[in-house]
């Protein structure tokens, strides 16, 4: 009896069973409604952009692993998230070839050169997006109105632009609420903003769905709630103070919260575990830092949108936060 040799393992012999792949899968679940609504709002163009970004990221991850003789890491799901997020930060009629380049670079330069998942200093999707912004400043600020009647039937010429051809500026382009405010002093109703009934990048539009996705992840303990709370809280407080000082020139705090990529960034990008600090106090500092930067860039900077840079700077800061913020060890 019991002739079989026993397996030996080191303690602990049980684990919680929530693996990296499970977390990543749930992040994808939380992002799907956001993507679905974006496709509903912007139609077939948005779908093409998201799919292209997704394919570019997953394919790049696969090929890079293959050529460097490493085991494939597609199954961990992180490339899928990067692909989805990158797609969601782009304008709905962004040329597909540019999207593809963005996806390739997001994975190659945002993640692979650092050593892959876990070693990337910055959120890979934002790295991709930042490169695209620098390379194609016009295309990436060419916005497009939501809810056009023919959005499910008409593929924009801009989307199908031939690589390196002069981008076709699509006839119909709409100002985003943020640029409208920034450059024309027009504010949009906060309720419209929250529900996603306005123009913007693909995934920026529905704050409600983004927040629901975040709540889902928080409820499943797969997201650190302190990060979005610290970012949104500090944006609200700082812009509230400014609005109180002079409502004529400063936007209302509600407008600040629900416009642009703030929700998407605060909930899905700043919370990327790899790029954020590891302690509870550290993430709060990180969140406040990002929130303040967003307000400063939006109001005083030369750009209408500061979320991307704010988060990238937050990513750069977080190792330093971790070095400085060390909880007191028991009994010391």
């Amino acid at each position: 009896m019991f002739s079989k040799t026993l397996r030996i393992s080191s303690s602990p012999h049980i684990n919680k069973g929530v693996g990296v792949d499970v977390i990543m899968r749930n992040v994808v679940y939380a992002l799907l409604p956001v993507a679905a609504f974006a496709v509903y709002a912007f139609g077939i163009n948005a779908l093409l952009v998201i799919l292209t970004s997704l394919i570019a990221c997953v394919l790049t991850e696969h090929l890079l692993n293959k050529f460097s003789n490493r085991p494939s890491t597609i199954a961990d799901g992180s490339a899928v998230i990067t692909g989805l997020l990158l797609g969601l930060t782009l304008p709905p009629i962004f040329p597909l070839w540019m999207t593809f380049i963005g996806g390739v670079l997001a994975i190659a330069l945002g993640k692979f050169v650092f050593g892959g998942l876990g070693y990337n200093a910055f959120n890979p999707a934002l790295v991709g997006r930042a490169i695209l912004q620098a390379a194609f400043p016009v295309a990436i600020t060419t916005w497009h109105p939501a809810f056009l009647a023919d959005r499910f039937t008409r593929v924009s010429e801009s989307v199908l632009t031939f690589p390196f051809a002069k981008p076709v500026v699509d006839g119909i382009s709409g100002a985003t609420p943020l640029s409208a405010f920034k450059f024309d002093q027009v504010t949009t109703e906060s309720a419209d903003l929250a529900l996603g009934l306005v123009s913007g990048s693909i995934g920026e539009t529905s704050s409600v769905l983004i927040a629901l996705g975040g709540l889902y992840l928080i409820a499943r303990k797969m997201m650190n709630w302190r990060i979005p709370v610290a970012i949104l809280g500090s944006v609200y407080v700082l812009s509230g103070i400014l609005y109180w000082i002079n409502p004529e020139i400063y936007p209302s705090p509600e407008f600040m919260l629900f416009s642009g990529g703030l929700m998407l960034g605060a909930v899905f990008m700043a919370t990327d575990m790899v790029g954020s600090p590891i302690t509870s106090l550290g993430v709060v500092i990180y969140g406040i830092f990002i929130g303040l930067l967003v307000v400063v860039i939006r109001i005083w900077g030369g750009l209408p949108e500061g979320v991307m840079y704010a988060i990238l700077l937050g990513n750069a800061l977080s190792p330093h936060i971790d070095r400085l913020i060390r909880p007191r060890v028991y009994g010391t």
Partner: protein, 446 residues
């Protein structure tokens, strides 16, 4: 007096308890195996020295090996029988160490021979000696000689005597049953402990999942004893001495220090019961309560098992699944994997947990650290296991010890338990601690 407290230590984890399988089952006597295999080192310190010879007939309870100095305890015969062989026996970790093979007399009544009783009125020194002579060590799993732990160092004093009835390891119900079934022994043990520590008050710490035991003990506190029963919330690793002291007294034991530095002494409840049961009769430890459980076991339960009973005999008796895969001595969080079934039950074996193939944790895939912070939020002493893990991989052991408090890690396993990347953090830290200790002693010898 029964008190509920919401105080606890920082962080910690909540693994599924799985105690309901055995916590209602009274302790049952286990049959005597035909052959006892008795390692001479079942405790921290020096191995006991054999004082019998091969072929000698011994009676149950008779001393077979004496303590080798102060940090050591003697060994008593778990059964009446004949010493077959004095040779190396298998011990945990796949090695062999000195021991005794003792063949049980099949038809013996197995009466226990007793020595000179140690009365309560004896001097504290005599009681400490009695505790050593009885071979008593921490039965919670640490197996540190109890008389050493109870010795109050010069210039220190003990105010709080803490009886540890936490049993925070999943699956185990040994202490739970002892508290329900041996209240008198526990209080007698406390009397002995009060004599040697001179403590002002006694707190029995019990987790909220053993409320029946807390009620049971609280109802039976003798009027003349300054005992409180305190119920604390369930959380792993509350049974760790330092965590329990923080939960009960709100104080932190200094890094590198001992409970006595905050005027406390903590003793496991089953150890306390053994003191109360053995000393009045001058007996030594020859058996202990062991929870045998886990998905791979048919007759789960709490058994009084002779020390030295081979695992194979134990599992044959309780019926283990054929596809058993891993066998843990102790609980699943801090217990050690048995390498084979020739190992025997020792004094520190609080439980045997058996997992079948399908229960073994999925450790197939290890991901890089994604800095999720789960380990940081789990570590009861606020270390940064993520950073320590990364440093361990680059073999920066000195940095780990000097800047990141590696040596404070007590290997509770909370960090590995929560890690979504399946990183064997505790394993790294165990190795790193060993290397740092070696380097230190190498420096000391230069």
């Amino acid at each position: 007096m029964l008190k509920f407290s919401s105080n606890t230590f920082k962080h910690g984890v909540h693994p599924p308890e799985h105690k309901e399988d055995t916590n209602k089952l009274p302790v049952r006597q286990f049959p005597f195996p035909p052959l006892i295999v008795l390692p001479m080192q079942q405790h921290i310190g020096k191995p006991a020295q054999v004082i019998v010879r091969e072929g000698q007939e011994v009676a149950r309870g008779q001393m077979l090996a004496k303590a080798d100095g102060y940090l050591s305890v003697p060994m008593h015969a778990p059964v009446s029988g004949i010493v077959r062989k004095i040779a190396n026996v298998p011990v945990i970790g796949g090695q062999k160490a000195s021991g005794i093979y003792l063949e049980t007399f099949p038809f013996s009544g197995q009466e226990v021979v007793e020595g000179a009783p140690v009365p309560l009125s004896a001097s504290p020194e005599a009681i400490l000696q009695g505790i050593q002579d009885a071979g008593i060590v921490g039965l919670g799993g640490a197996a540190f000689p109890t008389h050493v732990k109870l010795k109050i160092p010069e210039g220190k004093f003990c105010e709080h005597l803490i009886i540890n009835g936490i049993e925070c390891e999943p699956y185990l119900t040994t202490d739970h049953r002892v508290m329900l079934e041996q209240a008198d022994d526990i209080f007698t043990g406390i009397r002995y402990l009060l004599r040697v520590t001179d403590a002002k008050q006694v707190i029995i710490g019990i987790e909220a999942n053993k409320k029946d035991a807390a009620d049971h003990l609280a109802d039976r506190i003798p009027d003349d004893l300054p005992v409180k029963v305190k119920v604390v919330p369930v959380k792993y690793p509350q049974g760790a001495e330092k965590m329990l002291i923080t939960a009960l007294l709100g104080k932190e034991v200094p890094s590198g220090g001992f409970p006595i530095d905050v005027h406390a002494v903590a003793v496991n409840v089953a150890t306390t019961a053994e003191i109360g049961r053995l000393l009045p009769h001058g007996r030594g430890i020859q058996e202990r309560v062991v929870t045998i459980t886990g998905p791979g076991i048919k007759k789960k339960g709490n058994y009084l098992i002779p020390i030295g009973t081979p695992l194979r005999f134990v599992l044959e008796h309780v019926g283990a699944a054929e596809n058993l895969s891993e066998v843990y001595m102790g609980g699943p969080m801090m217990g050690v994997s048995a390498s084979d079934l020739d190992l025997s039950i020792v004094k520190g074996t609080s439980g045997i947990v058996v997992f079948g193939d399908e229960n073994v944790k999925r450790s197939d895939k290890i991901y890089p650290c994604i800095k999720c912070g789960a380990c940081v939020d789990a570590c009861p002493i606020s270390l940064n296991p993520s950073r320590l893990g990364i440093l361990a991989k680059s073999e920066a052991y000195d940095t780990m010890a000097e800047e990141y408090h590696l040596m404070d890690c007590f290997e509770c396993g909370s960090c590995s338990y929560v890690c979504p990347s399946n990183i064997p953090l505790v394993q790294y830290f165990r190795v790193a601690k060993g290397i740092v200790r070696k380097r230190k002693s190498a420096v000391a010898h230069v």
